[in-house]
Symmetry: C2
Subunit: 201 residues, 2 copies
């Protein structure tokens, strides 16, 4: 297929292929779709991309995306300021917010500690968490990093860092997902589910 597409189309496909989850076939489909849009719509589309990148920054308090200095959650009077939930990415904040059950604050790490990939504690948004805890009324830090090796290690690292301050540190529960079948759970999940068992009342 090399050289089959004219250069501008080839460039577009190659740019689209860099997006996560977009393979050669999807990139082609998206490229053809974009070319089928009218020129004004394409310019709007491209403009929105540049605009979003220019205007969106990280909240100076929690690290979540915001178009201001402080994000809407950190700025809100309706949130419980005694609890901070630590997550890996802004996408995790969205998942938590969707539940509509958590009313505390967040802290977005923008990554996890991963010695394998050369990411140490200083390469993620962690120092600002410690500073933040020092001056505030936080009495619980919930560690909601992912349930994988890096996520666990990062959670343990933060726990060790925070505990001496006397603030309660909790980790989200691991277990069999609701709606799933025990049969489908892997051994580690099942072990975690057993360890985390609670008395039925």
């Amino acid at each position: 297929m090399m050289g089959y597409y004219a250069k501008p189309l080839e460039d577009l496909i190659s740019q689209l292929t860099r997006l996560p989850g977009v393979g050669a076939k999807t990139a082609r489909k998206l490229a053809f779709f974009i070319l089928s849009m009218n020129e004004g719509a394409v310019e709007d589309f491209a403009g929105t991309i540049v605009e979003a990148k220019k205007k969106m920054k990280y909240c100076s308090v929690c690290g979540n995306f915001t178009d201001g200095e402080v994000c809407s959650i950190c700025a809100s009077d309706d949130r419980d300021r005694t609890t901070v939930c630590v997550v890996e990415s802004p996408a995790d904040v969205v998942l938590m917010e969707r539940m509509q059950e958590y009313h505390g604050l967040y802290h977005v790490l923008h990554g996890v500690i991963s010695p394998m990939e050369g990411v140490g504690p200083d390469e993620i948004n962690l120092k600002s968490l410690i500073v933040r805890l020092r001056d505030n009324d936080v009495n619980e830090v919930i560690l909601a990093t992912n349930p994988n090796v890096e996520g666990e290690a990062t959670a343990m690292y933060i726990a060790k860092l925070v505990k001496p301050s006397g603030i309660k540190v909790t980790r989200i529960a691991h277990g069999v997902p609701i709606g799933g079948e025990i049969e489908d759970a892997d051994e580690v999940t099942l072990l975690k589910a057993l360890e985390g068992r609670r008395e039925v009342d």
Copy 2:
């Protein structure tokens, strides 16, 4: 979630949702990825989109995408100019070319006749096919529209239009896909496979 995202991010997600096959979840993932790119890369990305739309046009002969006046296939001396394969979209040309078995020319309809959606013969790139056949050495028109109701109807319409000129009109075969299981084929496909059976030699 309404109002949770800052406006520039919300706009970006809503633009991305308009792409084919991109739901709310994928749009969010793509938006967060774009925001994680550095500003120069985002500008390149947006620039490539606008550039592609500006430079890519339809080939004045076959209707396929090109950045010139005539596409590389129509302009090539290596193609068999006696055969024209009629397809619905530029993406279909890519699929055909990938096979590396077809060496004729194409004609891209940019749609199908669909009375249900108010698309008549004049709304697709069909008139130019007839004009094209009049003045050229084409002796076979292969109808490679999709094997669905609209694709079949469009193929039949074009067949009726072309046949009086004495040019041979063929339709691609329908049948059981290679690598699939007969068990998985639907009844209509199986019927077509039976009807199209050929003697084994």
